[in-house]
């Protein structure tokens, strides 16, 4: 019944993070794809996003892999709920993955490619885009430091989550540092860019 959808090479790799993120969330309690999307948006969205179709597809693959088992909950009026819970194999796989090395951060920043070639861009427009970029990350920083922090604070009041919440805070702190770094870099970039084009005003 259980078909290995990932070949052994990929299985040995470290790139199945969406599946593992889902395993991690389902471990807390059995849940549906729709609910998982919501959980995602309120927890690990800041460093991993996923769309609903992606989640549903991955859940199906994980079921074939026997990392999950599903139970159909019949509802009247609404579509039936497909409630997933983690299996023994799923727990083992999550455990295995958690003990693997930390994956390096993929650096794919097309905005920075634009900055690299910005000498040929319109100075006024570029300045505006830098400001907009800066403000986006300042807003994100505010969100992380208020709303996101509140979510974690509330969740950590659950006594079982006491130790766990230290790691939630730690990962959220990464997002905060990242956003802060970007805002600071933008300020520096704006200063340098505006200096270079001062005479042309």
């Amino acid at each position: 019944m259980c078909i290995g959808i990932y070949n052994t090479i990929r299985m040995g790799g470290l790139e199945l993070s969406l599946a593992h993120a889902l395993l991690g969330l389902i471990r807390y309690h059995p849940t549906t794809g729709y609910q998982l999307k919501d959980d995602f948006d309120h927890s690990i969205k800041i460093f991993w996003n996923a769309t609903l179709p992606q989640i549903y597809r991955t859940l199906n693959q994980m079921e074939s892999q026997c990392w999950l088992k599903a139970e159909i909950e019949i509802q009247k009026g609404k579509p039936n709920r497909k409630v997933y819970s983690i299996t023994e194999e799923g727990l083992e796989e999550l455990q295995r993955w958690l003990n693997e090395p930390l994956e390096k951060i993929e650096q794919k920043y097309s905005a920075l490619v634009k900055v690299f070639f910005a000498n040929k861009a319109d100075p006024e427009k570029f300045s505006g885009h830098l400001e907009e970029f800066r403000n986006y990350y300042e807003n994100l920083l505010n969100f992380y430091e208020t709303d996101q922090a509140e979510i974690i604070r509330k969740a950590s009041q659950d006594s079982r989550a006491c130790l766990e919440s230290e790691y939630w805070k730690l990962s959220a702190d990464f997002g905060i540092r990242m956003a802060k770094m970007i805002v600071e870099w933008c300020d520096e970039a704006l200063k340098i860019h505006n200096n270079l084009h001062e005479e042309s005003k």
Copy 2:
């Protein structure tokens, strides 16, 4: 002869960065796919990587799009070189793209998902992985601050590149700040993690 391979929706989008990175590099001087891979590795690799097959495929698409024109240079013994140069359309497209807003940074850090669930990982192993992660970014930081800086310094001595090199430095500075931020976060993470598991030693 010129076939629009990207539909109008994608064309209006902002995601064709590999093509635009290539346009930016080819604008300096006509070159081949093989050479472009090398240029990539010595310039914008720190925020955009590409494999050779990807570069060749994209160049073919860009030729169909008429952003580039190709000339075959016959060589004895070695395979013929396909030398691409930028067209008027290519220059216009590059210009258009450079004046578009800066794309937000895609936050997809599976390492941070692992940190989020790290409470269930083996504390000793996790500690080791954090250290390895930290050392990787410390080495990268050293590379950016020495070798990478030297590449930019040398390139900027070309008198035409005087203004341009300010933007090279600015984009490289982003990489430096990023690596620094990660090392600092790791130090904090190691401190907190080790404190939490001190009693178990």
